[in-house]
Amino acid sequence: MRAAGLAGLAWPVSNLLALEAKATEASDPFAFADDAGRPRRPWWVKTVDQPTVDIDWSHKERFDAALSLSGGGGNLDRYLDEGLVAEINRAHDEEVLRRIENDQSGYTLKDFALFDAQRQGVSQDGSFLGRDDVITPQERGAAGWKAAANESARVLRVAMRHFGAAQVGFIKLDENSRRLIYSHDRDGKELVFEDVPLAYETDAKRVIPFNAEWVIAYTVRMSSESIKRAPTVVGAQSTMLSYSRGRFVQDRTQAFLRGLGYQCLGQAPLNGLGMSIGFSVLAGLGEMSRLNRMITPEYGPMVRTFFMLTDLPLAEDKPIDAGIMRFCSQCKKCAESCPANALSYNDQPDWETRGDWNNSGHRAYFEDSVSCIRYWRESALSDCSICFAVCPFSKKDKAWMHALVKAGIATAPVLNGFFRSWDDAFSYGAQKDPDEWWHMDLPEYGLE
């Protein structure tokens, strides 16, 4: 009888202890969501099997990066008459000088000096193999690091977050996703998959071994306080800083994995190797959007995306659905704000691309990159980023209302029109005074 009574008591006590353990875990600010080191995300960010962008893998081919106009449109003459491009560039230089001499807000000499300083280390071309002066386990006389895929994922996430990545996700390359690797890199080198144990590089090609089949997708945050000054040089310098920090994360991750005894292949030229946005979406860091860029639930579009390849087996992540792509179909604030009229106004994404600069095989809001880059050169005189600044997802996270609205967007799409109207009413996305930026006591990198 006593034993039965004790047993009866044990059940609620054990349940209470389990509840207490769960509560402690939930309140632990340093706890991951699971063994693979995935971060705890808001409840309305749902993991799904297929991304919210339709992909027809049978029509997706490996893209030649030389066709892309991203990264400043150094190859604008591919799409415009050479003489016209020369004229645009000449007018650009004259306009830069005129604005500096007029001390125009956002285009002063100190703004341009800051922009040029942030470009340091961004466009360093070189090898995609990373530095070879890192001591490998073999050189130490030790065995290579071995761990389960979950543990490897957690360890790599922790290291990369410490290097400066905002988000980190992993997927495994397959026959389909391999098509997101460029056919030719931005510097013209061919990207080839070969059945070799180690990656190598020649003057003509970069060789990716089939065993380097895990993709490390990551983002680096941009300062929204700076981007809200777009389209000025004060806004654009933050983009450059993020690219530079992305390279910083890549260099250290390559060295870290080499130190563990694994290969890590990075982007040699800026935005090289493959479709970082595509990989990031597949790895669940965010969703595609009307910007034809990725929007994350946590930071909106205020991130730059990067990726690397490794032969360290990693626990795979899945795409997400936070209602972002659905919201974009109705919002159109970015398209309405685009001074170059380069973004799509269509209600639904298209299979049809708008030019050779777009990569086909998926349904997207394709942009007119030529108009975009012409505006950069002729008027903005730098990276524009207005579409990033006005996006309703480009909010900081201090006001409770933002979390409520994001949850509403994910769960009650019928309210999307209302959310868009109120975004305008509250004047979110309005351009801020570029000169004011020089009087602000911001945290490091301008990130909050």
Binding site: A399, W400, M401, F426
Partner: protein, 82 residues
């Protein structure tokens, strides 16, 4: 029990129920009012910290409207009860 006594008993019971319902209703309205005040004032302060002055101003306006609405309802109900 006479008809009059029965009727008084019934009236008493209804009154007690109504009183309970009113107290419950009052409590709920007050909780909602306090939550709304907290919500709007948090957004107002946070918007200032986010360097969104217009949003902050609008949230302060909402806060003021909620305060005023609460005051008007309280005063009008008190006058009716007296």
């Amino acid at each position: 029990m006479s008809f009059e006594a029965e009727s008084n008993q019934e009236t008493k019971q209804i009154t007690r129920f109504q009183r309970f319902r009113r107290a419950l209703w009052d409590g709920l309205v007050r909780i909602v009012w306090v939550l709304l005040l907290m919500f709007f004032s948090q957004n107002a302060v946070a918007s200032r910290l986010e360097n969104e002055p217009r949003a902050s101003l609008l949230y302060w306006m909402f806060t003021a409207i909620v305060v005023l609405a609460g005051a008007i309802i309280t005063l009008s109900r008190r006058a009716r009860l007296e």
